[in-house]
Amino acid sequence: MSNNDATQGKKPALNIHEYLAELDDIPGTRIYTAARARKGYWINQFAMSLMKAENRARFKADERAYLDEWNISEAAKEALLARDYNRLLDLGGNVYFLSKLFSSDGLPFAEAVSTMTDMTWPEYRQMMLDGGRSAEGNRSIKANLAAAAANKGAN
């Protein structure tokens, strides 16, 4: 727990712009902000439609034709067909919605998640068994850049 004013029982003043900027300062992470939710609305609603067995069957029979029924950009349709989940996060997809697509594919959640990392599924599974990814060096893009710059200066 951070030891700042907040922990002294004082309600912190909040600036919406600073709040939103901080959300984008986490390495390898796309926080599902309102801006992303607006951008990815139909990607997520498409994924949601796969909760119905009859829609899953229609999607599986002809993925492209099913996607063409939705108001989704060509880039997003291609990312959906390719199951390129990092690209889909950039386009406003959210993992809880996209997970309907993992499930329709019969893919275990963790295996689908591993495709967004630089590891294979067995490597990712082993990392989790070994205690997961450390927060160390993964907290802040700005802090990482500053550390890299300081390191460069030192050399």
């Binding site: 727990m1 951070s2 907040a6 922990t7 029982g9 004082k10 309600k11 912190p12 709040y19 901080e22 959300l23 986490i26 390495p27 390898g28 992470t29 926080i31 599902y32 902000t33 309102a34 939710a37 990815g40 609305y41 997520n44 609603q45 994924a47 949601m48 796969l50 909760m51 119905k52 067995a53 989940y85 990092n86 996060l89 959210n94 809880y96 919605f97 997970s99 309907k100 697509l101 993992f102 499930s103 329709s104 275990p108 959640f109 963790a110 998640v113 967004m116 990392t117 630089d118 990712y124 990392m127 989790m128 068994l129 205690g131 997961g132 990814r133 450390s134 927060a135 993964n138 907290r139």
Partner: protein
């Protein structure tokens, strides 16, 4: 008068539901997780709560991207298990307690919490996995449930302080219900996990355990943890821990620890579990 007699915190990883449903809960992978719930299963069987106020998040099951309630309370008589893309879990229907739920909903609104009221919905693993962890596989769930769904998906999600204050208001609401009911409140989700992007798989044993420590005793420091700290330290989905603060807030000024369990990993997630009772 109805009383909140205890609070339970628990992760609600969907894979735990799969383990129960497929009879794998004592294999090498799941055994150590479920062992940490044995104490609680016996305790639940002995204490026999009438109702559980079950704080959870819907994972794009009952609510889609269209309507995003920050705090929603289920006021129906029963709820079915949701089809999350692989068919509904074969678990009993969840029985609601509409009288208590409507009483809480009205009290909260009068107490200036602008609740969304849900009459009909399906409930997903966020709600049914904790029931399986605490009660196993009965033909019928031994408690009635008041579902309380929190938006922890679309930002901004509610602050820790707001969640804690909602818990305090739930305590007042329950205590003004005239019927004699033994009520528990469960906060579910977490602990550290990140399910998206190249940083997926982040876990933080040290931070999670500090969070568990902070729920015990008379400190309210945890209500002031900012969102960004959960995100940096515990992964993007670690934010679900704000739901545990609703449970903690509903237990009053001070708590006593009855049971605690922590295990890494389950799928992508750190499993945390705690049982607390209010100190009068």
């Amino acid at each position: 008068m109805a009383r909140i007699t205890a609070g339970v915190g628990s992760s609600h990883v969907p894979l735990l539901g799969v383990a129960v449903d497929q009879g794998k809960s004592d294999d090498d992978y799941f055994g150590p997780i479920f062992k940490g719930y044995e104490w609680t299963r016996k305790w639940e069987a002995n204490t026999q709560p009438d109702v559980v106020i079950l704080v959870y998040n819907d994972h794009a099951s009952a609510f889609d991207a269209n309507i995003i309630p920050t705090f929603a309370i289920g006021c129906g008589d029963h709820y079915k298990s949701a089809d999350e893309g692989w068919g509904p879990r074969a678990v009993p229907d969840v029985e609601g307690h509409a009288d208590l739920a409507w009483h809480i909903a009205q009290s909260l609104i009068l107490d200036e919490f602008d609740m969304t009221i849900i009459n009909e919905m399906d409930v997903d693993h966020g709600l049914t996995v904790p029931l399986s962890m605490m009660f196993g596989q009965p033909a019928k769930w031994p408690v009635k449930v008041v579902p309380l769904a929190v938006n922890v998906v679309t930002y901004p999600v509610p602050s820790g302080n707001r969640c804690w204050a909602l818990g305090e208001a739930i305590k007042r609401a329950v205590e003004s219900f005239p019927e004699d009911l033994n009520v528990q409140i469960w906060g579910t989700g977490g602990m550290s996990h990140q399910l998206q992007g190249p940083r997926a798989g982040l876990l933080n044993r040290e931070w999670d355990n500090k969070f568990l420590d902070a729920l015990i005793g008379d400190s309210d420091a945890a209500r002031w943890i900012p969102h960004i700290e959960y995100l940096r330290e515990t992964g993007s989905e670690g934010i679900e821990m704000v739901m545990w603060l609703i449970m903690r807030g509903a237990l009053g000024r001070e708590t006593r620890l009855l049971h605690r369990h922590y295990h890494i990993p389950c799928s992508n997630t750190a499993i945390g579990h705690i049982v607390l009772e209010p100190v009068d």
